[in-house]
């Protein structure tokens, strides 16, 4: 099968898909969407890349180490934001007590946004990992 069409279309589409994914992540607080949804979209773009160009392409863009780091750091960032509440003298995951020079509701908004980003980072790496690992050795058999 001639992959040229697929590859070309993919090359054109992937940046847009990713952009759309980031949009979903960033606009989670104001419109339908959020970290999970956006993260999956971005991850799916990488899967598309892997499908069109082979797993190595995706692997070289986002390597195993980077994916693990993104996974862990995304989760850690969430837990860290939660712990900030305790550090600021409030309760776990209590945002409005975090000392920023803004009204409390704004602080909440910022933290929700940050959490969305953390989730997005985590999910995009994870979705790609799941795909790559699932296909890992079946590919070799082909």
């Amino acid at each position: 099968m001639n992959p040229v069409v697929i590859r070309t279309v993919t090359r054109i589409l992937v940046p847009f898909i990713q952009l759309f994914g980031f949009y979903i992540i960033v606009h989670g607080p104001v419109s339908p969407g959020g970290g999970f949804q956006g993260g999956v979209v971005v991850g799916a773009s990488m899967i598309l890349l892997a499908l069109a160009y082979g797993a190595h392409e995706a692997e070289s863009k986002v390597s195993h180490h980077v994916r693990i780091a993104m996974d862990s750091l995304g989760s850690l960032a969430y837990a860290g934001i939660g712990l900030l509440g305790i550090a600021a003298g409030g309760l776990f995951l209590q945002y409005n007590i975090i000392p920023l020079p803004l009204p409390p509701a704004r602080v909440n908004g910022i933290m929700i946004f940050l959490i969305g980003v953390a989730i997005g980072v985590h999910i995009m790496a994870l979705v790609l990992s799941l795909f790559l690992h699932t296909t890992e050795e079946t590919e070799k058999d082909d």
């Binding site: 693990i68 996974d71 837990a79 305790i86 309760l91």
Partner: protein
Amino acid sequence: MNISQHFPILVIITLFTGAYLAPLAGLWKRKLCYPLAVLSALLSFLFSVVILLSVLEHGIIRYHVGGWEPPWGIELLVDPLSAFMALIVSFIGLLAVVYSKDYIAGEIPDKKLPAYYSLLQLIIGGMLGALMTGDLFNLFVMTEIFSISAYALVSIAQKKGSLIASYNYLILASVGTTFILFSTGFIYMVTGSLNMVDISQRLSALESPWVMYNGLILLVIGFAIKSALFPLHTWLPDAHSIAPSPVSVLLSALVIKVGAYSIIRSVFTVFGPGLLEQSGVVTIPVTWMASLGILLGSIYAITQTDIKRMLAYSSVAHIGYILLGIGLASTASMTGGIFHILNHALGKACLFFCAGAVLHKTGIRNVEEYTGLAGKMPITMIAFTLAAISLVGIPPTSGFMSKFYLAIGAYQESWIFLAVILLGSLLSAVFYFRVINLIYFGEPEHKSGVREQGAEIGGVVHRQPTTDNRREAPLTMLIPIIILALGSTLFGILVHIPLSVVEPAVKLLLGM
């Protein structure tokens, strides 16, 4: 502001953070995973000690995560029961992590270590989360965390058949969790709330109870699948026997107990003291299933040759004791049931640790090859004996006391339950003493001919214990074994210590 007020959340977050860090640490230095895991497990153990003490002193702890009041936000609710269970979970979890170091080296490849320790912390953290939470949906989420970690840990060693065991476990337990979610939907539908305390207040004001009953039934059956109540236990023997021993300990001593705990929560807290009469709809069938489980679990255990499988089936019987006590819902039976959670956790953890130590040092899994191990691994085998005696329920070990309370509570309901408890002890004596007999008085097979002759001639044969073939397991494995064996013996004499926690917990649950 006092940091100790945050301990209910920190006890969970510490482990989760450790779990997040483990793969990261694995990228840098794999050796770092173990100390990190020990550290976080130790921290959470210390936290849960403080939590238990403060619950006993100041009463129920309520922690509003995120600062939102209960029906809107998620509330952590720590009463004596959850603090008691949390202490058990974090303590045995700590021991399992400590034990893992030398054991796991021979079981799984080096590159899986980060994943292993990460999952180990997730399973403990998930269980602690399920114990501490006061929110029904959060209970579901936490249940999923420890369940997924459990499925993965079952298959981590990639033994023959472990994948199938893990798959079985996954599918069957997922049916259970989906039941739980479904019932959460039912309950949410009629109450509009997810907070347990709030639900119980609103449920008692409910006029049409059908939806509520459906919810209760699905909730209890969902958790009964998790806790391997008798006819729902089919996933357990494979999963518990194939998993690496520290994981078997976590599964057998803790995970099914957390399921039992969740049944307690759903019957006594969600449905509350106000609806205790009506909850007989589920508790009465549960007692009958538990009675069957006590008898048949022991009978299956008798027919096993694989030691871990035998112990796994014995867990089916013991979860029967616990749920029988809970289902009877009288003061004595509840005391016995909850106290038995501790005893079975200590005893079964010790037995699985011992079986693991034997497996690690000699590769023996078959009960009939346990002959003469007392000479080779005396400390391990003494610990095995103590723990087994405790589980059979012979005084003065702790297992006797919990069965004594259970039996008192059982007779208040019906003599049949008393008979079941006593018969169950008798049956468990059969298989535990079979092993004990082999350990101390069985002879290694190749010598058996010689021994037979000697016995005929002398009546007594003088055997010189040879010191050179003593092969105790390494210290990281031996210390947890010793601690647990001592615990399961000492708590039979110092019963007032656990009872001082169990009794207020029971009073609270029964609304007295």
